[in-house]
């Protein structure tokens, strides 16, 4: 089998520890604790978990926006942990990030055309107006908007602007961290469809970070479920939905509010995260081809 586009092995990211300015010991938090996953070219992997599960940190470390404290990240056959900023620069062209809050991601004092062109300028590429206009068209925005400022746009339009910037350098991989959570419901489908169109046109691979499974089921081919810094289950969407193994995966599935008033209501079993922190010695076992579950 060919090597996947992205291969993350035993990734660790810790915060705190004995680094306090006054020399006091601070507890070490393993935000990302020995996780492994891969993303094939053109594929979408959903990374799902509750707030504090480490899913966003995992996304940032994968892109080397934060350093790893252990493990490896191979991208297009190259190990990228430990690279210097200069060595990382050509890799960064290939990997981009889209954030949850398109209001915070934009620079309020920069015209949106310049914002989209910025990565091209930084990488010494042609940032001619025509090329920016093309990017605007690809994400469904009128190129005439280029000279405007962020406050003139709605949330959905702002997210389109962020997406235009992210695809400017023709990346092969994008980490999208809850990219529709902050948008109005009537806008979410527009942005999800745009993600799929871009994948079809540009062959993009996505790491789609989400806190609920309903959109993941629709958008992703495979899913990894995170709990307290660990991946507890990873499988195809079909496997996760038809045969969930880990109790936390089951509780996530059970928690999706179903928009069908005819479905009988039943009380759900509470899953207490605090008493179900995966033990350190737990290892993943493959219970079916491509279906891995953390074993206690």
């Amino acid at each position: 089998m060919a090597e996947p586009l992205l291969e993350v092995r035993n990734l660790i990211r810790t915060y705190g520890g004995n680094r306090s300015l006054l020399g006091g010991a601070r507890p070490v938090l393993h935000a990302v604790n020995d996780i492994s996953f891969h993303v094939a070219a053109g594929e979408t992997l959903g990374l799902v978990g509750e707030s504090g599960s480490g899913k966003s940190t995992a996304g940032r470390v994968t892109l080397q926006l934060e350093p790893a404290d252990g493990g490896s990240v191979r991208f297009a056959g190259q190990e990228i942990t430990g690279l210097s900023p200069r060595q990382l620069k050509p890799v960064r062209r290939q990997m981009q990030m889209i954030f949850q809050d398109p209001y915070a991601a934009l620079n309020p004092r920069m015209r949106v055309g310049s914002f989209v062109a910025e990565p091209l300028v930084v990488h010494g590429e042609d940032a001619h107006k025509d090329r920016i206009a093309d990017l605007f068209r690809i994400v469904g925005l009128d190129p005439a908007f280029m000279t405007r400022y962020p406050h003139e746009f709605s949330g959905g339009q702002r997210q389109r602007i962020c997406i235009a910037r992210a695809i400017a350098l023709k990346p092969s991989f994008i980490v999208a961290d809850e990219p529709i959570t902050a948008l109005d419901v009537s806008i979410q489908a527009q942005i999800v469809n745009l993600f799929q169109d871009l994948q079809d046109q540009l062959g993009l691979a996505y790491l789609f970070i989400a806190h609920d499974l309903s959109m993941v089921r629709y958008l992703c081919q495979r899913v990894a479920v995170m709990l307290r810094g660990r991946i507890v289950e990873t499988a195809s969407v079909e496997q996760i939905f038809s045969n969930p193994q880990h109790p936390y995966t089951r509780s996530l599935l059970d928690a999706i509010p179903v928009p069908d008033p005819d479905r009988p209501r039943r009380k759900r079993l509470a899953f207490d995260v605090a008493s179900n922190i995966p033990p350190r010695e737990a290892v993943m076992a493959e219970i079916a081809p491509g279906h891995f579950v953390l074993q206690p």
Partner: protein
């Protein structure tokens, strides 16, 4: 028949902004019966949050202005009530839970102190009895070890636990009416599920009347008896949840339900998308506010605001639309 618990008549709320007067709620009228759970669905500018803040006297004026209307709660007009009496009602007969639990709790007071304050203000319980009630409430909303948790400060609680505290405060005086505005939106889905279970449980046991404001059709389907879909400061459709979900008569309701990611969408690799963006309420469209985004809009929709009219034989199923959506959809289906 018993009189409704809440009756809103012709409520119109505007904000005076540098760009001019913005109408956030336009001539809104509805009634809510005792024991009923109303799910209010809407997005930016729908008026779903503003109308409850207005009726509770929680909108700062200026810039907000209630231009007209009555809000009758158990027969009393809340809009004419002196602030002192309104304050008695809020947190007493009317419990409230808002989206952001961090900014709703006082960071320098223990959670127990804040709960006790509400209990002592609105009931006869004092001292150890108020403390016992506070413990009972935390236990009720599923916070483990409630006795010890009462002595802690808000920052010692996770987001989900803080929101449970807010719900405990909202429920502390066995309100007749519980109003929750996106109360579970910021929570993890597993915590949201537990809170929905809890609210269902309270309805069954105490007969609490609920207004649950959300953008999530799934939450409405799980919790509500009646759904009210709002857009541009108006009700677009309202009715029993089953009737509205089964056959929506507003193109907006229909679009919201169709854009949900279901199995069919996965097979087609395409979600139905409502075109356009929510209206700029400083420059609202003339006529039906949803008309610019509605593929079934008629000329009349673009000029004249449609009144709420009976939508189907189902009692209480109302729609504000000049077009006949089921007929249009049937015609489309017949033409392939």
């Amino acid at each position: 028949m018993a009189p409704p618990l809440l009756e809103i008549r012709n409520l119109t709320v505007a904000f005076d902004t540098p760009a001019g007067r913005v109408h956030a709620v336009n001539d809104l009228s509805y009634t809510l019966n005792e024991g009923e759970t109303l799910g209010v669905v809407g997005e930016s500018g729908s008026g779903k949050s503003v109308h409850v803040l207005a009726m509770l006297g929680l909108l700062p004026s200026p810039p907000a202005k209630i231009l007209s209307g009555e809000v009758l709660f158990q027969g009393r007009d809340l809009l004419k009530l002196p602030e002192a009496q309104l304050r008695e009602l809020r947190g007493g007969q009317i419990g409230m839970v808002f989206q952001d639990p961090m900014s709703s709790l006082n960071p320098v007071l223990t959670v127990g102190r804040q709960l006790r304050e509400v209990i002592e203000r609105h009931s006869d319980l004092r001292g150890a009895k108020a403390e016992a009630r506070a413990t009972e409430l935390l236990d009720l909303v599923g916070i483990p070890n409630p006795g010890a948790r009462l002595k802690q400060y808000p920052h010692e609680f996770s987001g989900g636990m803080r929101q449970r505290v807010m719900i405990a405060i909202g429920l502390s005086c066995n309100p007749k009416l519980l109003i929750a505005d996106e109360a579970t939106t910021a929570l993890d889905v597993t915590v949201q599920a537990q809170i929905l279970d809890l609210v269902r449980d309270l309805k069954d046991r105490l007969g609490t009347t609920v207004i649950w404001i959300t953008h999530d059709m799934g939450v409405v389907a799980e919790l509500a008896d009646t759904i009210q879909v709002m857009y541009g400061g108006r009700i677009m459709e309202r009715g029993p949840v089953r009737a509205v979900f089964r056959q929506p008569h507003s193109a907006y309701t229909w679009g919201l339900l169709r854009s949900l990611p279901d199995e069919g969408a996965r097979a087609q690799r395409r979600l139905y998308q409502i075109p356009g963006a929510p209206p700029d309420m400083a420059n609202p469209p003339a006529g039906d506010p949803f008309a610019p985004r509605n593929p079934y809009a008629t000329d009349r929709c673009r000029t004249e605001v449609p009144p709420l009219r009976p939508a189907s034989p189902v009692p209480g199923h109302m729609v504000a639309a000049w077009y006949d959506l089921p007929a249009r959809l049937a015609a489309e289906a017949a033409h392939g």
